[in-house]
């Protein structure tokens, strides 16, 4: 179980208001800046949760506070009931962490040696170490490169090796920071199915950060969205979709350029008053059902590119609406990508 209670982290940054002269050679005037403010959540045992947010939103800072690396300015973390900032060493035993961008393996030594070293750090008995390595070797298919120096492994192999390293001491909690970063499609699928296995078979609580929405969709029962240091959303994927809506992109070509221009003009003026309706999380309800969620993206000759929310109005409704301005010649639809949808959140 992972508990975050009112987590806040303040960093001191150079004061932008201080004049250049005063900032100069000697004084380093600094002001506090909140990277993370008042984040609370609980991830119960055995849950697989995704943690997403744009770069700079405070995701890394939160992850580092959760894993005990950074001390929060305010608030508290509990990993299986243990506060990692008071009892770092004790908490470290219940926790496995993987940083996708940075290996924790011993670069110049055969992969196997890293596990020997980690086993010594966690004080595993020789028998337990042997069993555990065997188990992970099978689960993560490490046998082929157990004796290869880590620096010679492919990224996919290295990630599997790192995953085994994070799990060697049988942690009840796994924090995975971008475990699929840089991997090709096949390796990503591979890692995902392994993670699902680990979560289901060992009842390991997993918190995962990623920029790949497929990871979230395929693995996580729950999503936490952080934006500007605040927790913006915490819930299931289906509700997240419902909340953002399902914006699709439509390319509609009119027979006559004038009709296209007229439709564009009308949508433009409607759009101005109802911009928030389609995308915003906390936006007001759509003003008019007809124009609901239809937004003009561009007009080129006879073709309009529209964004519309398929939740508020079906594509047929949208077309019917457009036909009022003239005869249509061609229609093309692009299905909404979950990734694009979530990016709207940011």
């Amino acid at each position: 179980m992972i508990e975050a209670i009112g987590l806040t982290k303040e960093f001191r940054v150079p004061d932008p208001d201080a004049s250049a002269k005063r900032r100069g050679l000697f004084s380093r005037r600094s002001i506090p800046k909140q990277a993370v403010s008042d984040i609370s959540f609980t991830i119960p045992e055995g849950e697989f949760a995704g943690f997403i947010g744009p770069n700079g939103a405070g995701k890394s800072t939160t992850i580092k506070m959760l894993s005990g690396i950074l001390h929060p300015t305010q608030g508290e973390v509990r990993l299986g009931g243990i506060n990692p900032h008071r009892k770092r060493k004790e908490a470290a035993r219940t926790l496995g962490v993987l940083f996708g961008q940075r290996t924790q393996l011993w670069w110049d030594l055969p992969l196997r040696d890293s596990y020997d070293i980690l086993a010594a750090m966690y004080g595993l008995t020789p028998e337990r170490k042997k069993d555990r390595i065997e188990e992970l070797e099978n689960l993560l298919r490490l046998s082929d490169f157990m004796d290869t120096p880590v620096r010679k492994l492919s990224l996919g192999q290295r990630m599997r090796g790192d995953l085994a390293a994070a799990m060697l001491h049988e942690p009840s909690i796994l924090i995975l920071d971008e475990p699929t970063i840089g991997l090709d499609a096949a390796s990503k699928r591979d890692i995902r199915s392994l993670l699902r296995d680990i979560n289901e078979r060992m009842r390991t609580t997993i918190l995962l950060t990623t920029h790949d929405m497929d990871d979230i969709e395929q693995l996580c029962g729950r999503v936490l969205v952080i934006s500007k240091g605040k927790l913006d959303y915490d819930g299931g994927i289906a509700q997240l979709r419902a909340r953002i809506g399902l914006p699709a992109v439509m390319e509609v070509t009119f027979r006559q350029a004038e009709s296209a221009a007229a439709a564009a003009g009308e949508l433009q003026s409607l759009g101005d008053s109802a911009t928030e309706a389609a995308g915003g999380l906390h936006g007001p309800e759509p003003l008019s059902p007809a124009a609901a969620g239809i937004r003009l993206k561009s007009l080129e000759d006879r073709t309009l590119v529209l964004e519309c929310d398929l939740k508020t109005s079906s594509s047929v409704q949208v077309l019917r609406e457009l036909e009022k301005y003239g005869e249509l010649e061609d229609i093309r639809m692009r299905e909404p990508e979950f990734e694009d949808v979530v990016h709207k959140l940011y």
């Binding site: 690396i69 950074l70 060493k89 011993w106 670069w107 110049d108 010594a120 750090m121 004080g123």
Partner: protein, 269 residues
Amino acid sequence: MNRAEWSRFMTMYRILIRSSFRSRMQYTFNFWVGTAAAAMINAVEFALLAVVLHRFGTIQGWSIAESGYLYAVITLSKAMYRSFASDVHHLEKYLVSGDLDGLLLRPAPVLLILMTQNFSPRFGETLLGASMLAISLGAIFEDDPAIWTAIPLTVLAIASGAVLMFGIGLLTASSGFWLTRIDALQVLTEDAARTAAQYPLTIYPGWLQGLLTGLIPVAFINYMPALYIIRGTHGAWTLGLSVAVSGAMLLLSLKLWKFGLSRYQSTGS
């Protein structure tokens, strides 16, 4: 911390040192060239000192052998400190890159893990220091049985000196938790101070002697113990005080380290 935990940490330390050494030995050529170069640099440095001494016979009443002793003791102390805690000196690298993150995730003291990273046994300096020590002691105690008590006392002084250098090094490194970039400070507290202490303290003006005794107490690595062990001008208290200063410096640096660790800011991502 109980005994079982300590024995686990010692096992861990041993395995980490061994792995670190094996990593280094993946690049055998680099290792031996580095070792030879370090020995050579030190030899040249001392040769310069020897030339000066030879020309003038003594430095402020310190004979060539006695100066050689000071030089040998501090060289061995440094070799010991850097062998057993090499990356304490390179903490800045960990702070700038955020590599300290990984060490904080382990159920073991961060400092102990840091000490084992990039283990670099200072064979060259150790060999040079040991031979110089043997020659100096041989010359100082020619036909004098006092040498047999001087040897264990010198070993104690070297170990105490290594602890003192470790303390100074750790204190400087810990300031990195606030300052991040500390290489300039290290040049001052570690390199410059050590270079100064390679010579008898009496050659310096009073204020500098005070600085090297009171502020950056490198005088307690070799000069103070030497006053008792080889000069006999002062009592055993100089050696005792040296050990006490080392202990105090160690405690102080560990305190600051611990405090600094809770202020660690890591890096962007």
